[in-house]
């Protein structure tokens, strides 16, 4: 009581903003690691419950029906695929202890660990994986994430109901061995297997409860945690699975995922101590958070790119590379990331974000120029394209409703105005209207785009620009580019494959097909007590690696402890 009174009395900083004095937040004890890299039990808190803000309410906890980040965060704790991820995002053995890859890189043989159990006590066998992968690819399941299975042989035909599900390229060799055949070399395939759509489900569980098997009290899983409780739009509670293969090393006993849609609400919840981990933080609170929660604020690169697209099928962008180039050059990306987005996003001149395994993105020469040089060149190109102060370009930037998109579009418009004299109109649309317009390629000119990859590979970004791809809202079409992507699909030597993708990206960027702006970062608040997790580009954080430190004893409790001891004597 006295403490809260003090905090109310002293809660204005120099900007007149209310601040909670830092001493009000408990500080953890120093982390002590044992020789094996595990934390010393003496520094661990008694109550190992982690409460994680998790964005929107997950759509479902059926791993094969699930879609989107919120459900994937939970499913990664509940289930384990053939492969799994280390705290730093490395792909490591999961249910499979090892695997062989054939010479042509198309056949994977997985050897499962023995004596693994489901949470209901059933043994986890190779048959579980065969059954589950077939279920995920079955048209009857209608999985929205089945795209991830497309590298598997016959997956496309099975999904289209042209072949029976038994024809999917998966063979059961014996109780603990299975083989997966791919249509072509897919270096990121082991990573795809960590996606929920490749998780096993318990056949008995599914047969018993049918479509309701993923509800609390019913769901059987094979991961580090089991589903304890799910109150819709209130909380999802998981408890440690005592039958999990590494249960002894799992320190956190309970995980609570809170669906909080509003990011600023998450921050207030974190500040009041109700959350250990937020899903995100609002852009407009950066300066304040940086000042008041410097140790809790965690920012790290993410596999996503933010860019604007040109509709290359309508004027003025058909056959007009000078104009497109001018528009790309005339944007000061540093100002956008420093003043608008403000969370340490990396200004970008490329499509593929940095940090992707085995790949160095193409960096055009003008990335090293000063902005003044780029502006100069932009003005020259703008005139070359036939525009001037008397005959300015009139253009629309279209974006879906979001504070951030609006601010960025506004900044871009004013830079174009200042440098080139372009007259820009901002058009704001509701998401699905926007997506439809983008896809139809009729009324769009310049539009908000971007991509966050589901797997750690540049191909995920490049294939958006293939001729005829359903996601190619840009109308980009280049035969050489297409041919290179085709080659990427069959190339089994990693270095050559990377080189091909690098060349493809270079072609795309020298065609000036998009306006790169920045690459994404993840940003969140994490309580100082919560350790064991590591930043990684995929932003996947399994709770089983985490642990909570105990709080540093405050002076008050130390005093009361000595009093108690004296009384004992």
């Amino acid at each position: 009581m006295a403490l809260s009174f003090v905090s109310l009395a002293a809660c204005r900083d120099k900007d007149g903003e209310f601040v909670r004095p830092p001493e009000n937040r408990d500080q953890p004890v120093e982390l002590v690691l044992l020789e094996n890299g595990r934390p010393d039990p003496a520094v661990l808190a008694e109550d190992q419950t982690v409460i994680r803000g998790n964005g929107e309410e997950p759509q479902t906890l059926d791993p094969h029906q699930a879609e989107g980040v919120p459900s994937a965060n939970i499913l990664r704790d509940l289930f384990e695929g053939l492969t799994t991820e280390a705290a730093n995002g490395d792909i490591i053995p999961g249910a499979a202890i090892r695997w062989n890859i054939s010479r042509d890189a198309r056949t994977y043989t997985f050897y499962l660990r023995r004596a693994m159990l489901w949470s209901n006590g059933d043994p986890v066998t190779a048959d579980d994986f065969v059954f589950s992968l077939r279920r995920a690819a079955s048209p009857a399941t209608a999985s929205p994430s089945a795209t991830m299975l497309l590298p598997i042989q016959n997956a496309r035909e099975v999904l289209a109901d042209e072949l029976p599900v038994e024809e999917l390229g998966i063979t059961l060799l014996d109780e603990y061995t299975l083989q997966i055949t791919l249509t072509g070399p897919t270096p990121y395939f082991l990573g795809l297997l960590t996606h929920p759509v490749a998780y096993p489900v318990n056949r008995r569980n599914l047969e018993e409860f049918g479509g309701e098997f993923s509800r609390p009290g019913k769901l059987v899983s094979n991961g580090a945690y089991v589903l304890k409780d799910w109150k819709h739009r209130v909380s999802i509670k998981l408890e440690k699975n005592p039958l999990y293969r590494e249960a002894e090393d799992t320190i956190v006993n309970r995980v609570v995922f809170l669906p909080i849609e509003d990011v600023s609400v998450e921050v207030t919840q974190f500040r009041s101590g109700a959350l250990d981990w937020t899903n995100e933080v609002p852009n407009n609170q950066f300066a304040w958070l940086k000042r008041n929660y410097p140790d809790e604020l965690v920012i790290s690169p993410w596999t996503g790119s933010y860019f604007f697209g040109f509709n290359l099928t309508v004027e003025p962008f058909v056959q007009n590379p000078e104009l497109r180039q001018a528009l790309i050059f005339a944007i000061d990306r540093q100002i956008i990331t420093d003043k608008v987005t403000r969370f340490g996003e990396q200004p970008s001149f490329a499509l593929v974000p940095p940090g992707i395994e085995d790949y160095i993105p193409f960096v055009p020469e003008y990335a090293d120029w000063t902005q003044e040089q780029r502006n100069e060149e932009a003005r020259r190109l703008y005139e070359m394209a036939g525009y001037s102060d008397e005959n300015p370009l009139r253009i629309e930037i279209r974006y879906n409703t979001s504070e951030n998109h609006k601010k960025i579009a506004l900044a871009v418009a004013s830079m174009w105005k200042q440098v080139l004299g372009v007259h820009t109109t901002l058009v704001n649309e509701e998401l699905r209207v926007f997506l439809q317009n983008r896809q139809q390629k009729i009324i769009t000119q310049v539009f908000r785009a971007g991509w966050i990859s589901d797997y750690n590979d540049p191909y995920s970004f490049l294939e958006l620009f293939r001729t005829g791809d359903r996601r190619n809202d840009y109308g980009y079409s280049n035969e050489v580019f297409d041919a290179m992507l085709l080659e990427v699909g069959t190339e089994r030597i990693r270095a050559r494959r990377s080189r091909l993708m690098f060349e493809a990206e270079r072609i795309l960027l020298t065609d000036f097909a998009i306006i790169p702006i920045y690459s994404y970062v993840t940003k969140r608040l994490v309580d100082q007590h919560l350790k064991g997790w590591q930043n990684n580009v995929m932003d996947h954080h399994l709770t089983r690696y985490m642990y909570k430190l105990k709080s540093r004893a405050t002076r008050k409790t130390e005093v009361s402890e000595t009093i108690v001891r004296e009384e004992d004597q």
């Binding site: 497309l150 609400v265 109700a274 359903r470």
Partner: protein, 308 residues
């Protein structure tokens, strides 16, 4: 009685019109439930459409839907695949009704009290300050009030939780207060106005002339007629409050009905939107009906007309 029964029957065509308009309007909106930035391959999209009957002609889907809701089955939610729309409404509505109901109650009691006091002290300092505060209550939107309350009461003082839901009183206090504030203010102004009017009428003068104490004059003679406009306001206001407020639900992280409605519409979750629309329709019609009954009970002039 007969009148009431026929009014209740009139609910059915009204609902049918509502269902038809809502059904075709939501289908007219661009985009579908499975559209997102990660566009699905055609094979996968087709499987989803078949599963949810979206591949059928629209008219057929409409009649299929009508057939389905006759059995009071609103179908599965497109977005929350583990739950049916019936389950979602059954979970969301009790929460919205509790918060909204308490807010209505608070607003009614507090609002009329303030209104009466202000009317009795008409044109004094008390009146002006009460009405000033009320005007403030009406003008400040709840998306400003709510974060302010959270900041002061939950974050700095730590007296109440900042949000979340577990049916405990502590978690209800702030949302109920926030929700009740503008309605309280409105009711206070409404009560004051009509009370002043009633207090100037002849029969009140008669009552006073009889030597009745002022308190009795108010309670016995003036209160009922003065509350009539408040009662007719309460119908739609109650419907508005108990059906859930998106703003309140988002800011306090409350699993009420309002967010299902808005999120459902944004996600093109056709079944969820339709379910909530129909449910809202029924509630609003019922509440208006109840207000009519109350009105008749309180106002003899209407009762007399009906008998005629």
């Amino acid at each position: 009685m007969q009148h009431s029964a026929s009014r209740l029957l009139g609910l059915i065509p009204t609902l049918l019109v509502l269902i038809t308009i809502a059904f075709f309007l939501i289908r007219l909106a661009p985009g579908g439930p499975f559209d997102s930035e990660k566009i699905l391959p055609p094979e996968i999209k087709a499987n989803l459409d078949v599963k949810y009957h979206l591949d059928e002609p629209l008219l057929m889907q409409y009649f299929r839907y009508l057939g389905q809701i006759i059995t009071l089955d609103f179908g599965p939610s497109f977005q929350y695949k583990d739950w049916t729309v019936n389950e979602l409404i059954a979970r969301g509505f009790p929460v919205s009704m509790t918060i909204g109901g308490l807010a209505v109650l608070l607003a009614f009691l507090l609002g009329t009290l303030i209104g009466i006091v202000a009317a009795m002290k008409q044109n004094t300092g008390t009146d002006y300050s009460l009405m000033g505060v009320a005007m403030l209550g009406i003008s400040i939107p709840n998306f400003v009030v709510a974060p302010l309350l959270i900041l002061l009461v939950a974050v700095y003082a730590g007296w109440l939780p900042a949000g979340g839901w577990d049916w405990s009183v502590q978690r209800m206090v702030l949302p109920v207060l926030t929700l009740a504030l503008p309605t309280t203010a409105y009711i206070a102004r409404l009560t004051r106005g009509s009370m002043i009017e009633v207090l100037h009428s002849n029969y009140i003068r008669t009552a006073r002339a009889k030597g009745l104490p002022e308190l009795l004059v108010i309670l016995r003679h003036a209160l009922k007629p003065a509350l009539l406009p408040v009662i007719s306001f309460m119908g739609p206001a109650t419907a508005g409050l108990i059906t859930g407020s998106v703003v309140i639900e988002r800011i306090y992280s409350i699993p009420g009905l309002g967010s299902y409605f808005v999120q459902g519409a944004l996600n093109r979750d056709y079944t969820l939107v339709m379910g909530v629309v129909i449910f809202y329709g029924v509630i609003i019609i019922l509440l208006n009906f109840i207000v009519d009954l109350l009105y008749a009970w309180m106002n003899p002039r209407i009762r007399y007309n009906e008998v005629q």
